[in-house]
Amino acid sequence: MQCAFLLTPMADQDILLEATDLTRVFDGITVLDRFSFKLQRGEVLGLLGANGAGKTTAMNMLLGLTTPTSGSINAFGVDMFRNRVEVLKRVNFSSAYTSLPSNLKVWQNLKVFSLIYGVKDYKRKMTELLELFEISDLRNRVNGHLSAGESTRVNLCKALLNDPELLLLDEPTASLDPDIADKVRKTIRKVQAERKISILYTSHNMRDIEEVCDRVIFLHKGKVVAEGTPTQILEQSQQSSLEDVFIKIARSGDVEES
């Protein structure tokens, strides 16, 4: 299967994260097949694909949670697996499928993670982030009593505590109502632009992708089937929306018109 677009060559100093030929085989099944990509400093890259396409596996490898069968990951110029802790100091992560300890107050959770990430002047930082996400009133609320939207925003506060250079967001707007999802997207975009954070973003919500991502990679059965800016992909596929492209790829595995 041919990749629809090739990356424009990047200058080495701009590359924050580089995955080369990442392959993962589970019980004889190849879930990720020679997946390669580069992420530039300050770029937002969407990783898309149907369930089982391999994006979660790729994300887990990038976080050091799963080891690849073959291939390598270079982050900030060093090998991810040999320098896991040093790399993770400059990275953060938020997922709709994880939460902070439910029995602790929001402020307590953020303090614990501030200490883990070695955040200096963490009180100021935590206050600033709670204000940014408009949830200052939640600081003394127990995490387990928060709504999905509140919990997502607290997770994002945690993800920005260490001023990460690289942020991995796994479906950050899943289960949010359109209003909160819109606020979250706008805040992510604002923070990203201000701080020049590189973001790797997975979502099944194509609106997220269109609004937030500079470039997207579509995965199908572990392989890259399309890559480019949202506009380029729409032109190439002659579809009216990324959602249509998604459906087409999920069903046929190809972005090209038949």
Partner: protein, 267 residues
Amino acid sequence: MNVRTIYALVLRYLYLYSRTPMRLIELVFWPVVDLMVWGYLTKFLQENSEANFASFLVFLIGGMILWDVLFRAQQGVAISFLEDVWTRNLLNIFVAPVRTHEYVAATFAIGFLRILVTMVVLCSIAAMAYQFNIFTLEWNLIPFFLNLLVFGWSLGMISTALILRWGQAVESLAWAVPFFIQPLVAVFYPVSKLPEWLQPIALCFPATHVFEGMREVLNPEIAHLSLERVAWAVGTNIIFMTIAALIFGGLLRVTRNKGLLTKFATQ
């Protein structure tokens, strides 16, 4: 080893226990129930039997309190890990700059704090209800306590490693593992009462030497702890801790290789 990271992980548990007093009750409820039921039963038998029960009560109470040191140390490690699983926080920890040995060290510290709480309550009740003073053991308490603490940590690491590898299906191991070895480590009876073929196996455990040593110290006819017992306890502890670290490191690697960590953490 970053002390700040360990402090942060321990702080999380201090917050947890300060916010949910029920957790504190769990730390003392079962040990107190055991102490009272078995203590009064032994007292009853002592008063209604022709047999010489002179030292039985102190052996039993001493055994129960020291057993709790081992059990709480093991629980501290295993339950700390499970707390992260139950609150779906495990991924946040594993993708943070936390080294495995820092995470394990934090669970050790939590185990130690749990023991302190339980010990204070148990020793106070034992003194009031049975006139048993743990400090009768004097300086011998230190090697007993430290050896049981380290052995509990080793068992905790093994329990956690097994749960990491096989998931929540084997979660009950967090409570069961110490009880697998309880009959062998001669908590309430001397090793000599075990079948002869089991005795060499029993002596492979550091806890066996601690409980045998405790009975020697509490027995007025012996009343001292031999250095040989301490040496055996320390030696077997070093072996167990090494084995536990190898099992933990090995199974964590397998878990990463098989991609089980994420599945387990988001279940």
